[in-house]
């Protein structure tokens, strides 16, 4: 058997690791571990020079295994696997030890963190010895795409893909396309008409032969894998099956219901309305109170349901600018009205947005700041002498004074929150939710539209609150990703699958019903189980269920994991009593 020759690389990650872990000492000490041929520390292993270092060493020292001890493998495992590939080594002859997220960033004692780093590396070194070369597998890519959600994000993605001549199935749960934009009048900051934007797009969709639209439609279930998904949809009770290679989830958002904020008493004040209701009013062309009068005093309360631990911790991102847009629309419709903003911070980061803020500030609009975390404004019924319907009480933060503001109409800038069926749909398509119930992208910075399920993308506000340009950008980014894959014609599928050793399998069939993907079947003639490697997603559950040890979970073999355990628990690396 070929001699095992391991290269070990300990990353500083600038100061991220080096500050808490003595990386030089680690690299030096681990050099004496069995089979370690070179052991080096380097500032940034993931940088081009860092990767080149590995490639050079592989060639120079004839390495056949590589361990990089750096950040989480969820971030850079693929980067380093590619480096191995570039050096002519099988990418699976690689293992990472996570000494950043699981060590330097979470511990405070340098000596302990350094010792822990050594244990994690010892585990990785032990494990990598048992790694085996795995060969890439590809399957044909079905060029059709399923898009779930017919709002601006779904529409943009659909057009992008269909304009390239590829099939799109566009599923919408309501009875029309357009989503929330259908209810919007003008858009900030340039006051373009939402209807003028969305209507032509809907027309184009409806007339594009490559787009099949399914309104009033729900997804029943979904099976398959990247390149070859299939689903059952139900449209008005009728079921239909669709096959496609990629999925875009563009299910959008819903508005926060302000009923739960007692001091706003939305349920009882007829003229306390949400931004959604006000938008409809603008679209209808008339700003009127419930009594049918033009309001004299209009207050806009920001961050309703956002940025507060009792409701949602996050910022809904679009409400500040929408509120400014309202000021402009109110000012032109009702030139003599008094406009007040009860706001927490003004967030005006988008293109043209700060300019909108400056412009609006010059239009006789009063901004009153309140403490969003601890001291929300209160809406009270005014007395007759106040000559208005309501009063808003708030402690103005900048002046430090308590202020009362007259109001005939109060607009609550309600938060965006995830749709109520987000969880169910997420489970169907294999996308997890973050703590705020929005879908989690594969990587928050480097892979913002893909998800951990290959072939499934999340775009628009179902991923986090977004404005129109961001939603459209994401939608088109996902479309571009999909078109690239379609263009390539094939996709790589999971290679770390389970495999049955027919010499050992006794045909007990314990594994067959364990598989969530029905990837295992029983071959009666041979009396053995057989894994369909295209369907297998490599969870390894069958390997753990197999009583005979006949199923091997590639890249997560018993031997690899047991060796890692041994390494992690090497006696010399135990924590000392203090």
């Amino acid at each position: 058997m070929e001699e095992t020759r391991i290269g070990l690389y300990v990353c500083w990650c600038g100061t991220n690791i080096a500050k808490m872990v003595d990386v030089e000492n680690v690299a030096k000490e681990m050099e004496s571990m069995p089979n370690v041929v070179v052991s080096k520390d380097y500032k940034y292993m993931c940088s081009d020079p860092g990767q080149d270092l590995i490639i050079k060493d592989i060639k120079e020292h004839n390495l056949n295994r590589v361990v990089v001890s750096a950040c989480s493998p969820r971030i850079h495992e693929l980067t380093f696997r590619k480096a191995l590939e570039n050096a002519g080594l099988n990418p699976y002859m690689f293992e990472m030890a996570n000494i950043r997220e699981h060590d330097s960033w979470v511990h405070t004692d340098r000596e302990e963190a350094t010792r822990k780093a050594k244990t994690l590396i010892a585990g990785a070194l032990n494990r990598v010895r048992w790694h085996e070369s795995l060969e890439k597998r590809t399957v044909d890519m079905n060029p059709a795409t399923l898009i779930i959600g017919g709002g601006i994000a779904g529409i943009s993605a659909a057009l992008e893909i269909a304009d390239s001549g590829k099939k799109v199935y566009l599923i919408e749960k309501s009875d029309k396309l357009g989503g929330h934009l259908l209810n919007v009048d003008l858009t900030y900051p340039y006051m373009y008409s939402a209807q003028e934007m969305i209507k032509p797009k809907i027309d184009r969709i409806e007339n594009n032969p490559d787009i099949d639209i399914f309104l009033n439609t729900q997804i029943e279930d979904l099976t398959g894998y990247v390149g070859n998904f299939q689903t059952k949809i139900s449209q008005d009770g009728a079921e239909k099956e669709l096959k496609f290679g990629s999925i875009i989830v563009a299910t959008g958002l819903r508005a926060f219901n302000p009923d739960s904020i007692k001091d706003y008493d939305y349920a009882n004040f007829p003229n306390v309305i949400t931004s959604v209701e006000f938008e409809a009013m603008l679209k209808s062309g008339k700003i009127l109170t419930k009594e049918g009068k033009e309001p004299k005093n209009i207050s806009i309360i920001h961050c309703v349901g956002s940025r507060n631990h009792d409701y949602h911790e996050y910022c809904s991102r679009t409400c500040c600018m929408t509120a400014l847009k309202y000021s402009n629309q109110i000012r032109s419709a009702l030139p003599d009205s008094h406009i007040y903003h009860a706001y927490a911070d003004m967030r005006a980061f988008g293109k043209g947005c700060e300019e909108l803020y400056t412009k609006t500030s010059g239009k006789d609009v009063i901004f009153l700041m309140y403490d969003q975390k601890n001291d929300l404004p209160k809406i009270k019924k005014a007395s007759v002498k106040d000559k208005c319907e309501m009063l808003i009480e708030l402690n103005e933060k900048l002046s430090g004074e308590s202020v009362e503001v007259a109001a005939d109409m109060v607009i609550l800038m309600v938060a965006m929150e995830s749709n109520d069926n987000a969880k169910t749909l997420g489970q169907t398509v294999g996308v997890s939710l973050c703590g705020n119930e929005f879908y989690i992208e594969k990587h928050p910075k480097l892979d913002p539209v893909a998800t951990t399920t290959d072939g499934v993308y999340v775009v628009g506000s179902c991923q986090s609150p977004k404005d129109i340009p961001d939603s459209v950008s994401q939608a088109r980014a996902a479309a571009a990703r999909i078109l690239a894959k379609i263009n390539y014609g094939t996709v790589e599928v999971e290679v770390t699958t389970a495999v049955v050793n027919e010499e050992l399998c006794c045909g007990c069939q314990t594994c067959v019903c364990v598989c969530p993907y029905t990837a295992i079947s029983y071959d009666e003639e041979k009396n053995v189980s057989v894994v369909n490697e295209v369907l297998c997603k490599g969870c390894g559950t069958c390997g753990s269920a197999c009583p005979t040890g006949a199923i091997k979970c590639r890249h997560y073999t018993d031997q690899q994991i047991l060796s890692q355990i041994e390494g992690l628990l090497s006696k010399s690396l135990e924590l000392q009593e203090v």
Partner: protein, 141 residues
Amino acid sequence: MSFQPTIVSFLCNWCSYTGADLAGTSRMKYASNIRIIRVMCSGRIEPTFVLKAFREGADGVLICGCHPGDCHYHEGNYKCLRRFHLLQKYIKQMGMDEDRLQLKWISASEGKQFAELADSFTEEIRNLGPCKVKEVMETLT
């Protein structure tokens, strides 16, 4: 003065390992006794691995997977749950405190919960004292 337990933790890639990563990116601090092994799914975790960890000197073993219903592979965490119950019963019979082995659900967004769990589990094992499996094993060889 105080006993420093050694803890091995098996985390599923999609939820719990990501949750532990989040604890890191959020710079939360927790006890350094815990050593993490990544598996794709908690359904991959076998009794053999857990017993091996105890034999090699772990004082506690913490298994984490996706919350029920959230498993990336649909139901691997339920398989893990079933094995966990039987395994706890077995290690108890073998003279070990069954709480040396625990199974908790940590989602990808629960970095804080993971950090707290790492601390509380470490403390619990510290109170239980050293696990004697490895020591006994050394007297046998």
